[in-house]
Amino acid sequence: MADRLLVVAALPSADALARAFEAAWRAGHQRLEALSPYPVAGLPGEPLHRGFGRALLVAVLVAGAAFIVQYYAAVWAYPMNVSGKPVDAWAPLTPAAGVLGLMGAGIWALVAMLRDAGLPRLHHPVFDARRVDFGDDRCYVLAIEVKESELPQLRPWLEGLGAEEIQEVRP
């Protein structure tokens, strides 16, 4: 796909970025990405509630597994007379299971984030762009992937959206 280019447009502000993104999307660009130094309101993102359910599910599964292991060990594998209590007294088996379940959910949250954020990805074409600099407090950047042919009309259009600087990088 040698004919494809990554157009990186630096915008003055978060709102500008949001607007530009909106416009580009409307203009039918599918492959585009808005880079910002902090989560900018108005940019598309997955709804927050997504994943909570799954986290809960993971927690329940892990806790259940932990409980079963404990029950197996305490009741079937080697039942011992401990303080004269019944071997199958289940209540004491719950605390460990509970905390382990929460731990499982936490790990799942991490994994899910890495997956959805496509991390780790140490090399990425946008890093070639001069204005893509996370160290700069105001790096609001819109990256659009286009055919080389679309470039001529894209530039003025972007400038129209207030792009301070436009740079093409090859993927």
Binding site: P39, A55, Q70, M103, A105, L110, L122, F134, D137
Partner: protein
């Protein structure tokens, strides 16, 4: 508030990358390293000579080591809860978030180490793990220690995840501001190639909220479980249904105190007054005040229940605690952890950084005393009067205690030296012109 010259990113990165080290910082860092060495050396002696080097005896089988576990772990728990609160409240306290996340991890690690160090045969601590073996032996699940073992592991794992995820975007800042290639690679790897795309931010924000949501129940369970190490026992002063509950506010109070102290010092040393507004300190001061009030309430409640419960042994212990041999410990604890924080009811005090810092440290001394009361004095006056005895800490007890502080501080200093100490993303969001926070 307006962005400072050079911007938030520059300022924060400078602390880690190129800030001049003021002499108090160097001095403190050296001190903490010395303490760190004290810790390491006394641990070596401990492994060589066994726990006989401590002051523990029968009846006081648990001395300083367990106090240190309970104390540090509680600080960690509290810090995790504060961090979670900050995250859920919209991530607008860059200092509080980052430092409580760090404190949670570091304090938890220090406390966890003592859980192993205090055993008579640490080399066999792996018996606690659950693995099929040719002995057909399994852990004994009814033991609160077993629960605590898992609670600590779960807590440490979660604290680590929260800490890493929270720093991810800021590590990207360091990466892009780092000078040399080596540093760029170092931070580059840590940042995992973060570029702040809208998808990444979405996933990240969700993870933050999710983790915060998990932290709250975990913190409460975990704190309760470690309190069950005592509440699960039958001796007077241990056996109290409320202990797991009142451990929570105590944990929050000491954590708030420690985080406050850390922030105040940091703010002063690196002149970050403009990045860390007093409002932020005041918020934490409110948290401290609230939890201290709760601690006070539970102290009253415990006293009432002991009287109401009319258990002869418990009442005797109470009389010893309130007016008898242990009164000094008890009332110092009340003074430090309940009375003094009441000052924060006045805004004047709430907004005075140095007072908050000093208070924060005093509260933690109080928290330590609280655990001393539970762990040592109750055992000195057990059921059998014939077995009553005293507890005299040894040099090693003190060395290891101060050493643990050293480990904690060293970790904190490393964080300041190498990693972002404030949530840059939050600062930037706040600094962004005309942006209503949501």
């Amino acid at each position: 508030m307006s962005a400072a010259p050079g911007g938030a990113g520059a300022r924060v990165a400078a602390v880690a990358l190129s800030a001049p080290r003021p002499w108090p910082w160097t001095l403190a860092a050296l001190a903490s390293v010395v303490l760190l060495c004290a810790y390491v050396s006394s641990v070596l002696v401990l492994f060589r000579n066994g726990i006989g080097i401590f002051g523990n005896n029968i009846p006081v089988g648990w001395g300083f080591p367990i106090i240190n576990v309970a104390w540090w772990i509680d600080v960690g728990h509290g810090a995790l809860l504060i961090a979670a609160g900050a995250a859920l409240a919209g991530d607008c306290w860059p200092a509080v978030s980052r430092l409580s996340e760090s404190v949670a991890l570091f304090a938890g690690a220090v406390g966890g180490s003592f859980a192993i160090l205090h055993t008579g045969r640490p080399q066999y601590a792996y018996f606690l793990f659950t693995y099929p073996n040719p002995l057909d032996q399994w852990p004994q699940w009814r033991s609160p220690l077993m629960w605590d073992f898992f609670a600590i592991i779960a807590f440490l794992v979660l604290a680590l995840i929260v800490w890493l995820v929270g720093m991810l975007p800021d590590l990207a800042v360091l990466r892009d501001r780092a000078a040399g290639h080596g540093r760029q690679i170092f931070y580059g790897i840590l940042a995992l190639g973060w570029r702040g795309s809208h998808r990444q931010w979405a996933a990240w924000t969700r993870a933050r909220r999710l983790l915060a949501g998990i932290s709250v129940p975990l913190m409460v369970t975990s704190t309760g479980v470690s309190a069950l190490d005592f509440a699960g026992g039958i001796s007077a002063g241990y056996h109290s249904t409320m202990t797991p509950v009142d451990a929570v506010p105590a944990a929050i109070a000491s954590a708030a105190g420690l985080v406050l102290a850390a922030i105040v010092i940091l703010r002063r040393t690196f002149a970050l007054h403009d990045l860390i507004p007093v409002d932020e300190l005041e918020t934490l001061g409110r948290v401290l005040l609230g939890s201290a009030l709760a601690v006070g309430f539970f102290a009253l409640y415990e006293g009432y229940m002991t009287w109401y419960g009319a258990n002869a042994f418990d009442r005797y212990r109470q009389s010893q605690t309130l007016t008898g041999a242990f009164a000094p410990w008890y009332w110092t604890w009340i003074a430090l952890m309940v009375a003094l924080p009441l000052l924060l009811a006045w805004q004047r005090f709430r907004r005075s950084p140095w007072l908050l810092g000093v208070l924060g440290m005093l509260v933690n001394i109080g928290a330590w005393l609280y655990h001393y009361l539970v762990i040592v004095t109750t055992q000195e006056r057990g059921f059998m009067t014939s077995s009553w005895s005293g507890f005299v800490p040894t040099t090693w007890d003190w060395l290891l205690l101060s050493g643990s502080v050293g480990v904690f501080l060293s970790l904190l200093f490393l964080q300041v030296r190498l990693l972002p100490v404030l949530g840059v993303y939050a600062l930037r969001a706040a600094a962004a012109p005309g942006r209503s926070h949501g």
